[in-house]
Symmetry: C2
Subunit: 345 residues, 2 copies
């Protein structure tokens, strides 16, 4: 055993059960629907509504995150957020998560605890209970797999498939910032690799770095819909870039899409960073990904309600399928066809 | 693109969305509770009973499986089975799973399809629907994370914590075979490494190899309980070895355990293989793990009902906590203290 409190504790010192005890000791259960949490073969959730909503996501070291510039606490936080985002995208409040982590043997107990600190922080902020999971060693990289669950009444759930012609197309927040943040992190990483004495230059980049390293999910939009009594016709979260999500929504709903370049919400620091890096900020918004904003459609009648909320931007409208998926370019008014782009990490 | 039908297709040829389409095209939904499967931000399950039961497990290459001797189809099958086993261990029928897979870039689309073939086969055999997941590349090894869900009425769920003094302690099937199978696979692997021309010698090992490579979960026990109107007082699945599971059950239930060495069910091929390898078959049963049998306790009144089923063996009884957890050794009648053993892969 490790007797020096200042030295990192090797994972194998605790063994599986000691490790699980240590990691789960700080869990506080908040939801009345949590009947049984960690500690048995399975967790138990009380069904209080008609439907259970389930989503799962996987983050892999070297593909979805780089431990060179990703603080472990942020990593845990982000892993939860990207999963909750999928539940919010159904217009549902998530209540429970399970977490499976594979960590390199070289990682210390303290490092793993930092990941869990981020996980617990996200659970607290979003009112979610951690009810189960699995922790194991890995011969290679770290991987986090999270499953998020929520409950909903039948008529409240919003799929991708309900958009109707003439509906307004709206997004929350601003787009492209997470991608701009990633470019800065990658730039400073390569500078650091060439000369490890040079300190990274992150001045003025706080916002875009936070968007990449510690994104938030749009719980506030679901609260807004509840308050205003709005049920969107279709919704999807923006994880792979606006363009690809618009195409998913159009294809599921059997409609066409028309958006306007000059309506796409961009933060000032996204624009300046993209200019600095010789990138088009609109491209960052369309294809960058990882913004975790919500994209939704609502009937025209909600125009005024949507417009008055500074969180929301109307970027276009739904057309018929035959018209295809297009963006109206600023200035020229020409139609640019939207193309899908999945991961090509 | 790959135009030769005999050559493996690189994963990157299809892209994320093409790959997901190809892997999910064969999914057949069977359960009336599945309202929405793969294809949206989240899946939807109809809540027909009072509780949702959730469990999650993670299998990591090099830790939980070795691709040198694990057929990909078996790997997919086993990944599902180990998760369903946790739901059965709550006396509940699983109905849904989500699957997250990270695969090495070197793996072909066809290889990934083989894993999914095994997953689909298990879904079919156990009557479970695959309703969501995530597929991503990995810079290193392959990992599979599965979450299994079921539904249950409040009074039917069995936890680890309900065992009472004088209850019978019972197990399904036989123990130690999966561990014996693993030893044979590891032996032949090292022979093969020394001389790749020597063919592996697996004669007479069919049963123990199948127990390691393609285990089954004990759906039949849950059916037996339903038919006989029995609700066990406590239950746990045997994934880490009988000894460690007995200790979990005793600790959760605040009781002591007494089992009898000569009652532990062993298959003949487990005994002969252990003798061949100079191992004690009882040690394989106590500490080997991966049997995925069920360990449960029932009140004495069910003695005759349990005894008449050839699937079940009564191995001991529940004592008071002060008596501790012991095994009565064959012949000597001396008490051997049971000790826990988690993973030390």
């Amino acid at each position: 055993m490790n007797d020096n409190p200042n030295e990192p504790t090797p994972l194998n010192d605790l063994g599986e059960f000691g490790l699980i005890d240590r990691l789960t000791s700080k869990i506080e259960l908040k939801n009345s629907t949590t009947e049984l949490g960690v500690g048995d073969d399975a967790a138990l959730i009380k069904n209080e509504k008609a439907l259970t909503v389930v989503s799962t996501d996987l983050l892999v070291e070297g593909v979805h995150f780089d431990l060179l510039y990703t603080p472990l606490k942020h990593l845990g936080y982000k892993a939860v957020v990207v999963n909750l985002s999928d539940i919010y995208a159904m217009n549902v409040m998530p209540q429970h998560i399970t977490v499976s982590i594979a960590v390199s043997n070289r990682m210390s107990v303290e490092a793993l605890e930092e990941i869990y600190e981020g996980i617990n922080l996200a659970c607290e902020f979003y009112g979610v209970d951690l009810i189960g999971g699995d922790t194991t060693s890995s011969l290679s990289g770290t991987m986090i797999s999270i499953t998020a669950l929520g409950q909903a009444e039948e008529g409240k759930v919003v799929k991708r498939s309900g958009a109707q012609e003439n509906d307004l197309i709206c997004v929350t927040g601003d787009l492209g910032a997470a991608f701009a943040g990633l470019q800065i992190l990658e730039r400073e990483k390569s500078v650091f690799k060439d000369n490890t004495k040079i300190q990274p230059d992150f001045s003025g980049k706080d916002y875009i770095l936070e968007r990449q390293l510690k994104p938030e999910a749009r719980k506030d939009l679901i609260e807004f819909f509840t308050k205003e009594g709005i049920v969107p016709s279709a919704m999807i979260d923006i994880s792979d870039g606006l363009s690809s999500e618009l195409i998913h929504l159009a294809s599921s709903s059997n409609v066409g899409i028309q958006i306007y370049e000059d309506k796409i919400p961009l933060d000032a620091s996204t624009i300046t960073t993209c200019e600095e890096l010789n990138l088009n900020p609109i491209t960052a918004a369309l294809n960058g990904g990882e913004d975790y904003e919500l994209l939704f459609t609502v009937p025209l009648e909600y125009h005024e309600t949507i417009k008055k909320d500074p969180l929301l931007t109307i970027i276009g409208h739904v057309t018929d399928k035959a018209s295809g998926n297009h963006m109206v370019a600023t200035g020229t008014e020409s139609l640019i066809e939207l193309t899908a782009q999945g991961w090509q990490h």
